[in-house]
Amino acid sequence: MRALVTGAGGFLGRHVVAALLARGHRVRAMVRPAARLEGLGWPASPGLSVGPGGPGVEGSVGPGGPGVEGSAGPGGPGVEGVEVVRADLRAARDLAPAFEGVDVLVHLAAAVSGGEDLQFAAAVAGTERLLGAMATTPCRRLVLASSFAVYDVGAIRGGVHDESAPLHRAPELYGRDGYTIAKLWQERVTRRLAEQHGWDLTVLRPGFIWGRDHAYLSALGQRLGRHHLVIGPLTRLPLTHVENCADVFAQAAEDPRARGQTFNVVDGRGERIWTFLGDYQRGTGERGLRIPVPYRPALWAIRLAYATVFRRATKVPTVLIPNRFESRLRPLRFENRRLREVLGWKPPLDYRQCLARTYGPPRPAAVEGLAQPS
């Protein structure tokens, strides 16, 4: 199977490429034109370059050999190089050549930072361009990286957060942050196009993806200098370690049972904020107090402040808006039952192993060091 992975240079993307390679698939990795390939953890070979003026072949497409573009590690025996396609979905004119010979698209590209409009353009207009190109090719299978951000956490009844939770809707949606609006619209646009063209779509909605250099999460509370206000210290976090998460993407890409399905991606019921933050502090050597604040009284205080002071304001710091506060910090029970039951998926790494991968000595970047598929 050959997969086209967009956002391949990103935090999740580089691990998804590695997970696909570990399962024996061929990978074409789409990275931004200015992306650096060192340190991505897989052997890269030159491929296509799709500029705003149209596609141009940058070099021969083939296994890593002489002329390997930014070779990032030794490709072990039998490991084929990853073809690299350089394109930015916001500007590339003709993306169809990137789909040549591709059986499945794993679409991860989005902007996780920058202004609201940049995030929207990257996720939504970029997806329209990409899928518009896909419509002209024989590829009919795609896996989309959505996000927990699409759920309206405040509207969940019963305290269990699974795939049946309600999604954000207008007008409430537009009071949310740019990432939420962009991801919700990206999913909407993708579902419509998949239906229109009769594609097999799998939507994966990961919780908090964490791993080396990405272990501090917005759900950990509020930083006060080097100290932390831990709001709801016993609340469990919807965590998925990046290598576990990547394994789900690789399995969804190859497993026919995933077609037409939507899955929340969490490793299990999740660690408590207090424990996770403690492990973070031990792992990084950061010092500072963990100050516990009960969730309910904190929410009431924020609601009161909002109702009395900020109600008419149009721009308020995120943590002071009650519905955003709830989205970030509401205690819920997280379920990955569908992932287990439909795909038979178990996280390859348990929490201890994830801690070792995140805070332990760096492992050599090579395919043999990857999480093995379940």
Binding site: D117, L118, F120, A121, A125, T127, A313, T314, K315
Partner: protein, 346 residues
């Protein structure tokens, strides 16, 4: 009045937020090449229809006013089509990529009896308007000189210097700074009138995809002189406007609400700097609080755009003079053109 908008990106949100609050104005449609972007803008602002083709929109909606908020290199075609469809046009700055295109647009507007308004938003911020009020009342004295200096870090990711996607404005002479010339030129025009002579210096300090990151100019206007500048390398971000009159000086930061005046005061002359300093300190403290409060609400530094649109729609409705006339647009762009570097650098 029936309004429509083409190009639902960042600045469009400011236009739409303002139009929603204007009495007697209905935004009937929004158009963007990306269907998701157009539909999201329509849903967000409660607009009943959206399009991906501007000609279909002009034909079906027949708007009275069209806002063109796309990247500048596409303004000409869109504005011309809108004028030919019988609509007034509010176009984001810079109105066109070349002066010849602007000339053609203004001619088309004249022939069709329609208005072409370029967004000179900072002219309508509270501070410049307050300075104009004092000039008109006579207390400021005649303006001798104006300084406008924008310090803005435009090297950040996703903006003008994005190494992944070349920004459309980089194809214009002056690159990213060309996007700011209308601000500088419109403020110079406001205080010293049409220019007679201008001399510009363009420079590059840092390695980046930008052809230039520093710009300075000296301008002789009909009523005084102007010193204009843009600095991508000076920090922190600020938009300094200093106006020198025969009796008073004014100083404002248009990214904030700070506005101070220094002028004649009663009492012995040796104590003038002392009392002047105290008063300036009070004004800056008040402005600091106002700047903080406006972060919570309203258009922020875009207050001028809201004021300009309110005045424009009022004028279009009752036939009174427009806040930005064709003559203004022509004279401001003539200055902007005179400031541009001779060649386009790759």
């Amino acid at each position: 009045m029936k309004a429509a908008l083409i190009g639902a990106g960042q600045i469009a949100r400011q236009h739409l937020a303002c139009l929603q609050r204007l009495p007697g104005v209905e935004v009937a449609a929004v158009c963007d090449l990306s269907p998701g972007t157009a539909e999201a803008a329509a849903e967000r602002h409660g607009i009943r229809s959206w399009f991906t083709d501007h000609r279909s929109m002009l034909r079906e909606i027949r708007p009275d006013v069209v806002h063109v908020t796309t990247p500048p290199t596409s303004h000409f075609r869109l504005a011309l089509d809108s004028l030919e469809a019988g609509a007034h046009v509010v176009v984001e700055k810079p109105a066109t990529a070349t002066f010849a295109e602007l000339d053609a647009l203004l001619r088309a507007a004249r022939e069709k009896g329609r208005a072409l308004i370029e967004d000179h938003n900072y002219v309508f911020n509270r501070a410049p308007q307050e300075i104009v009020r004092r000039i008109d009342s006579g207390e400021f004295g005649a303006v001798t000189h104006v300084e406008v200096l924008i310090c803005l870090d435009i090297f950040g990711p996703g903006g003008f210097a994005d190494p992944n996607v070349p920004h459309p404005v980089l194809s214009m002479p002056g690159g990213a700074i060309a996007d700011f010339l209308p601000h500088l030129a419109s403020l110079a025009h406001l205080f010293v009138g049409p220019h007679r002579r201008a001399h510009a210096v363009w420079a590059k300090r840092r390695p980046s995809v930008l052809p230039y990151d520093e710009f300075r100019a000296v301008v002789e206007g009909e009523r005084g002189t102007a010193a204009l500048g843009f600095s991508a390398c000076s920090q922190p971000d600020a938009f300094w406007l200093r106006v020198y009159g025969e009796r008073m000086h004014a100083s404002a930061n248009l990214f904030e609400t700070r506005l101070t005046f220094d002028g004649p005061r009663p009492g012995p002359k040796p104590l003038r700097p002392f009392f002047g300093g105290l008063e300036e300190g009070r004004a800056i403290r008040r402005a600091a609080l106002a700047t903080l409060l406006r972060k919570f609400k309203g258009p922020g530094a875009y207050e001028g755009l809201w004021e300009l649109l309110a005045r424009t729609y009022r004028a279009l409705a009752d036939g009174s003079p427009l806040p930005v006339t064709a003559e203004h647009v022509l004279e401001v762009n003539r200055l902007a053109e005179a400031l541009k570097p001779a060649e386009v650098r790759p």
